[in-house]
Point group: D2
Chain length 290, copies 4
């Protein structure tokens, strides 16, 4: 899905959102064409046919993008976004998103993100890994990524969250890669970036703790995992991606945990990839994934 043969530095992404009305596709694409850009891909969606919200993601090729980006943003705001009441984000594909990762003791999601980053499959830089346990420090440091141990106890939670916010503030995305503590609304606000969490069930089934044990007790024939944006309501944030795996009566709860781990790491990596390619747009309690 990358633009073969075009230097990444010349590829831009324009993501917009506004009340639906006729002519938006035409207006946005005409603006880009007039600016000398060639549209590489365009996805759009309207939540309802009349009176809904309109979303569009456009990837385009524009030689000299890097130099023109500020003026292009200003022109788009003045000529298109402001008149149409549009929220717009214009980014350069060549600028990798800067990530922070929070983790506890389980390594499978964390390692998958670090591997994919190392081999260039995820176009991001991992700035820091923050954990409430020291166990994964050696694994992280092998990738040349800073690891910071911030212990969390009920008594020290406010100070711990202050330290976490300090470490994570200013990043583009924070990923909870099996971080087993509840993130408070305060931390979410203090970090100021979107957070993506992986939940180890196909939500809304098995909201809350020990989902694999409860899945075993309920006798389901399929278990899964869900990547979602973090909101103040635990396990209720907008879902980005889900996947599942078949199980049967011969699988113990430990087997479900093992099989589920593979689904978790795939689902989380896909969600992070799509987010970092500016493909995921929030629409209330749900998402649009272009």
């Amino acid at each position: 899905m990358t633009a073969a043969g075009i230097p990444a530095a010349e590829i831009g992404r324009l993501v917009v959102r506004c009340p639906d009305r006729p002519g938006i596709v035409s207006t946005v694409s005409s603006f880009l064409t007039a600016a000398g850009a060639n549209i590489l891909s365009l996805d759009q969606h309207a939540t309802e046919q009349r009176g809904g919200t309109f979303f569009q993601r456009t990837e385009f090729h524009l030689p000299g993008l890097h130099e023109q980006l500020p003026s292009l943003r200003a022109a788009f705001d003045a000529e298109v976004a402001t008149p149409l009441g549009m929220e717009a984000t214009l980014t350069a594909a060549a600028t990798p998103k800067r990530l922070g990762i929070m983790v506890s003791k389980l390594d499978h999601c964390l390692l998958d993100l670090l591997w994919r980053t190392q081999r260039g499959e995820l176009d991001v830089t991992v700035e820091v890994v923050v954990s409430n346990h020291p166990d994964l420090a050696p694994a992280v440091e092998q990738f040349g990524v800073p690891f910071v141990h911030v212990p969390v106890t009920p008594e020290t939670k406010p100070e711990a969250e202050a330290r976490q916010a300090e470490l994570l503030r200013g990043l583009d995305l924070v990923v909870l890669a099996r971080y087993m503590q509840i993130v408070s609304g305060e931390l979410l606000a203090a970090v100021g970036a979107p957070m993506i969490n992986i939940h180890h069930s196909f939500l809304p089934a098995f909201v809350g703790a020990v989902p694999y044990r409860r899945a075993k007790e309920r006798g389901v024939k399929i278990v899964g995992a869900t990547a979602h944006y973090v909101t103040e309501d635990l396990d209720e944030g907008p879902i980005i991606e889900q996947d599942v795996v078949r199980v049967d009566h011969r699988h113990s709860a430990a087997d479900l945990t093992r099989l589920g781990a593979d689904v978790e790491r795939s689902v989380l990596s896909r969600a992070v990839r799509w987010h970092c390619e500016d493909r995921v747009l929030r629409d209330g309690a749900t998402t649009i994934v272009f």
Copy 2:
């Protein structure tokens, strides 16, 4: 999975359940061998390694099975089942299960069951279709199956259930193929046969009404269906089979309904097939599917 080259009339199935203890496989298989039977397939499961429950399904070839069945049952009870505190069922594969189907207005699950029966894929006889609406009478009658319209209103529910029980009593299995009324504990008891229901979500997600609409609102990326035994607790019965299909933001609730219908008919048909082949054993709130 059928026994190629062996007359169906000579194939028997022995399903047992008892407290786990050493030697059961050996005892049961030695009994069958001594009786002149050849074991075609054997599946067993113990819920825990020590102190649990043991389940086994054995399919065997025995010339003259039909004539020997009563004496074989008596001998097995006396020599094996009673000494080991075992529940045992010994059936002839050649005797098709006798089914009743309950349905409301949606035809996709019903038609799939009737069509698979007609082409010999489901080895059952459908004795009657009972519906609270008259709409599907012509479709059912084309298959040569009796259709009985039993209207149900809040006022007439007791009489209606009495009539339903009368129609369905004595059958081997009742299938709720998108029957949109709650089945009371009284009806369940009066029918006296297992009932299988298809629920249009991957339980325990979206228990209750309008699951596809709620799936759309929650923004899930996967929808599914669940076939389960009916118990007095709505949507809480032991799950036999589940399956799912991927969806995205472009799908309306109506699209989910359409895509889900394909999953529902597949899942229900598989569950009915497995039940009728004596492959499904209840284990508390869950099932074992051999």
Copy 3:
């Protein structure tokens, strides 16, 4: 994916194909906007970033579409298609495609298409079913669809194909729903409409005859089905859709046939649906499915 709340009569589809160059999205969308149309959905694809072929499908809302269609077509040809060297098709969503179906003795794919048409899931009219065997006449006639038996033997193949061409000429699409005869290039040309075939393997595996038996012999763990456009090269036409199902050593070749039949009917129905919604564009030996 339908336009909720908008009369189908006011929905149009514009599908275009041309050498890629900057400005096409803008030109096409500006034309539609100027004509008073509101774009409901837009998908585009370029085969390579430079010097490739560009494809676009646009669904739009235009009150009075039916009356304006001829003038809209003429205007688009003059102002856009001809200047840009574009092939363009402009259709009304309210006009169902007219289908012919060819079949031999297996009913599962045929019945699935007829059921879906009957319940409004496939927006088509089935004009005729042509078979080289008489067996499926009663099943077809229950749907009120004409059934024509055209026997085919090696000696009578030319006359048979002449009769088939006569029955199928002038339709929008011909579906081979497990038609077990090879269609000659002459028949393909004489019919003059696209043909979609279902092959009972995941092509290019098991090209040719008896794929399930060969799948059993090769010991594959997955079997599948492929819907593709018919070309003169057997089993080599552009693939529209594929799907698979897991199998294991316990499944006989007959089991593969049974399990595969469910995949075949789903895959073929999806391919036909997408084709009839003008979502499938040929790109050499492959397809683009919007």
Copy 4:
């Protein structure tokens, strides 16, 4: 699927294969029961109902297994295996299989095997990694596993294979984790252990080189991977496991390679796990996976 609460040292596995005849299940299970063993799980399969080959895998609990293993083997051979013309393998679950891995430059399959071994998910010891390139030495050494670089050129192939055989002889299993050289029949014989290869297509589709590029050219909608035993006929060995992932026209050949890599590592890890649990039995050109 592990035996909760039972020391691994007391768990044995008996895998047998012989001409099918009545009474085998009974004979084998009676032998085990008489020896004081409790059967934990039993899977059996007969290739045809009459005159075929019979396969059985039994997992059992026997206190003192370690000490009794030699005498148990001798007794089973004398009392059961020899009289019935049976090939039998009796192993202790607590004895991990000793693995060698061959690899070239791609790390995803190798890393997945090493990581699963490290976290105890694969119950094996990796004795050595042999590569025809030096690139992956640091990655392997982080896991504390010896890495040996054995360059291979057309001229040096015989010497290289001699060196490889020396390194790999005496192991229980050799895994080709994207090893991009053809293994000769001589090497296979000299190593003397089973070899499992991962092929990056769903065989028999795209036998041979560059399968993802050919998949892109053919326009398939699904790509996959296949783990199989290595035989002298390239890509023709018995298939152990396969899996697939959906793709569409927007995916480049590079995207297929990336998406396929995830399937490859899962499929290979499952095949290796099952082999090492003595679950995979060869049956001519196919496998039985219990």
